[in-house]
């Protein structure tokens, strides 16, 4: 649904102690590959059909900005980012 479309928009709070959990919705993925381009340490693609493979469910803080951007540009809204 469009309600989920934007991904996470949390911009600030990248300090220590902020944890991020990434979820991918594999059936939704359309293999655009943008997440792999932006955050290759967190996302990869299946050789066969280019569908997303999550490499790191809890990426380190220095990767958070790239992960958030990946969620924003994902055309299928298949990336969910939960930050605490």
């Amino acid at each position: 649904m469009s309600g989920e479309g934007g991904g996470s928009r949390k911009g600030e709070g990248e300090g220590k102690g902020v944890t991020m959990r990434v979820e991918v919705d594999v059936p939704k993925c359309v293999a655009s590959g943008q997440c792999v381009m932006i955050a290759p340490d967190v996302f990869d693609q299946n050789e066969e059909d280019g569908i997303v493979v999550l490499l790191d469910e809890q990426p380190a803080p220095e990767l958070h900005a790239d992960v958030r951007e990946s969620a924003v540009v994902c055309p299928a809204a298949a990336i969910r980012v939960v930050e605490k």
């Binding site: 590959g33 792999v36 050789e47 280019g50």
Partner: protein, 414 residues
């Protein structure tokens, strides 16, 4: 560039603006003034098409993103109310069924048959080969007389060679498929011409698929032939998909190479930055900005509402056509500051030049790679490259479904 629209109250039915809209004289890169005025004044507005129908034109980035990501919006070109770009497209809608005119779940099932070869790592592995082809074409340019038509010398052959290799289409046939494909994507082609060009291309591809069935090779048509053998696709379906990949694979990138070069030559400060950088990331950023700035798919992303949808203060009723005009979305100042400025240093990654939603361009990693190689090579190898004619003399593709130039005469100082 801030033309005001006819002063009609939202309810009044004045004459609707026609779509597609003409660009302003002397502003070949900017979206049409009427589209920009709608973007400011009435971001979801009815427009008049060639057949008299009045679908909704959506011009604001946020609304575009919402609609293209909304499953209540259909891509099925056979649905009543679908806003066809021309009579030829309407005529073809039933014959040329591919995943781009399907909705999920069927769309996802078919699209996934061809996504593998476009995975980032597989495309990255093609970089040395693409670099070699590019260098070879530039060598030939440099060895010959000037002026040169950059479209014929580089912009068209590079992506054609690459897509031929990827698909397993013999490049010797390029005159044939380039000619047919330009008929296919010209909105002034008659219905008969479009149907004829499509039939010719599909027959051609079907013949190639039959060949791959007998003698498989390491290419995409052979993979599709495998699907035919497994009973997942008919031979005609595989051929339709082959046509889509072949046409989309060379027309779009070719236009980006040529038009991008015009834009850079018109912005020499930006060209100088690109020419001098050693940083592949800077080249990649420039590619995204040029994709945003030029948004060459300029006939809008065509859809039809499956249900009533509230958007931008309007209600789009079920069965009404929707045209998402990403040209203005990518020039939306809410998202891109000073959008009319070509700034190759900006982060333009959120552009929608490849569309948005589940139908976003399948070949985008390949397009990006080809553009990174060309933009990162051409201006370094020919630093004095310049237009051999006035920009106002260039034949812009106003009649194409994809924008660009038909010809680009360039010269340089040897």
């Amino acid at each position: 560039m801030t033309e005001t629209l006819a002063e009609t109250a939202p309810e009044a039915e004045g004459p609707l603006p026609e779509f597609p809209m003409p660009r302003a004289a002397g502003c070949p890169f900017a979206p049409p003034p009427t589209a920009r005025a709608l973007h400011t004044e009435r971001p979801v507005a009815r427009v008049r098409l060639w057949d008299g129908s009045a679908p909704w034109l959506v011009t604001r980035y946020a609304d575009q993103r919402a609609l293209l990501g909304d499953p209540r919006v259909s891509s099925e070109a056979t649905r009543p109310g679908f806003p066809h770009p021309s009579a030829g497209f309407r005529e073809n809608a039933g014959r040329r069924r591919t995943f781009i005119t399907m909705d999920d779940p069927e769309h996802a099932r078919i699209r996934r048959m061809v996504t593998g070869p476009f995975a980032i790592k597989r495309i990255e592995a093609m970089r040395p080969g693409i670099q070699k082809i590019t260098d070879g074409l530039i060598d030939t340019m440099l060895a010959g007389p000037t002026p040169v038509d950059l479209v014929r010398a580089l912009a068209l052959p590079l992506p054609s060679l690459v897509i031929c290799q990827l698909l397993g289409v013999p490049y010797e046939d390029h005159d044939f498929f380039q000619r047919k494909s330009s008929v296919l994507i010209n909105r002034h082609s008659s219905a008969e011409e479009v149907v004829g060009a499509n039939e010719a291309l599909t027959d051609y591809l079907e013949g190639l698929v039959a060949g791959k069935l007998a003698e498989p090779a390491d290419d995409m048509l052979s993979e599709l032939a495998g699907r035919v053998r497994a009973g997942e696709l008919t031979r005609r379906d595989a051929a339709n998909m082959g046509v889509l990949l072949l046409v989309a694979g060379h027309e779009t990138t070719a236009n980006m190479i040529a038009l991008g070069t015009v834009a850079l030559l018109e912005n020499p400060d930006q060209l100088a930055v690109l020419r001098e950088t050693e940083d592949p990331k800077a080249v990649a950023r420039a590619v995204e900005e040029l994709l945003r700035y030029l948004t060459i798919v300029h006939n809008g992303r065509r859809r039809v509402a499956r249900e009533d949808i509230e958007i931008g203060g309007e209600t789009i009723r079920a069965g009404e056509g929707i045209i998402v005009y990403t040209g203005t979305g990518n020039w939306d100042a809410e998202v891109f500051a000073e959008p009319e400025r070509l700034d190759i240093g900006r982060d333009a990654r959120r552009h929608m030049a490849f569309g948005f939603g589940v139908h976003q361009c399948l070949g985008q990693p390949l397009a990006r790679m080809e553009l990174q190689v060309v933009y990162g090579t051409l201006y370094r190898r020919i630093p004095t490259l310049r237009l051999a004619t006035g920009i106002d003399q260039l034949p812009f593709k106003d009649d194409g479904l994809v924008y660009g130039v038909y010809e680009l005469p360039v010269t340089w100082t040897s």
